[in-house]
Symmetry: none
Subunit: 144 residues, 2 copies
């Protein structure tokens, strides 16, 4: 999947900057549209959706779906080294923390899925949802 010739437009730059200025924050498409609704900053809804889609494909932004009926959330994760670019992410459903997973096991698992199930996983799109260590400990305290 080669990067085609792409243009740097005002809209793309502004959108990306905005996300990058707020790491660890979740935005819905609507949030972003709202922010870029006025004056010379204006970005149309369609463009917001299309650029977000591209950024997710490129791996600069993660997309989450939490609850049904809620809009998808987007979070900036940046453009790191090539390796980091390809790493998987864990997302805590309790506290929202995003964990970068650096792990040899997953490479093996990936290979297994490709070879035995004929499926090529896309790490940029894939997110492991679950509960992180800290939140698990809190649960233990309060629920048991």
């Amino acid at each position: 999947m080669e990067e085609k010739n792409r243009y740097r437009t005002r809209q793309r730059e502004q959108l990306l900057s905005y996300l990058a200025e707020h790491p660890r924050k979740h935005f819905t498409a609507a949030d972003i549209c709202e922010h870029f609704r006025n004056g010379d900053q204006k970005i149309g809804t369609t463009t917001v959706y299309r650029q977000l889609e591209r950024l997710v494909t490129e791996g600069q932004v993660k997309k989450y779906v939490f609850e049904e009926g809620e809009s998808a959330c987007f979070e900036y994760i940046g453009k790191g080294a090539e390796e980091e670019f390809l790493c998987y992410h864990l997302k805590c459903e309790k506290c929202g923390r995003l964990i970068h997973l650096e792990c040899r096991e997953i490479t093996m698992f990936e290979k297994h899925i490709t070879e035995h199930h004929g499926f090529l996983i896309d790490p940029k799109r894939t997110v492991f949802y679950g509960v992180c260590r800290d939140c698990l400990e809190k649960e233990d305290i309060y629920e048991q």
Copy 2:
């Protein structure tokens, strides 16, 4: 959450039977509406949604919500052990197919993540995005 007085209607019985006849298969609400579109089997859309919701509440049916804007999937699990039926899914980004993953490796991987990364993965929410076998083959033919 007490069960209120509930009626056994033709629609409910037929819907439940249909699901029960296809365990481990996932249906969208649209699939079900489609199936019950004709003749004396007819069930209205609203009823399908409302009964599905009830069945989920009762625990007889599992509901997966993977992507906003895409339909939720429903899967019959019966009245028995609920946890055993939790499995992972692969989603093809090309053709949109949702694939049940039945795989021993992932259990090992899951365990590794829990033990070494302190993160408990939620299979209900987690989906592996990528490209399925069929679409990979098509790509090979046309793109190379």
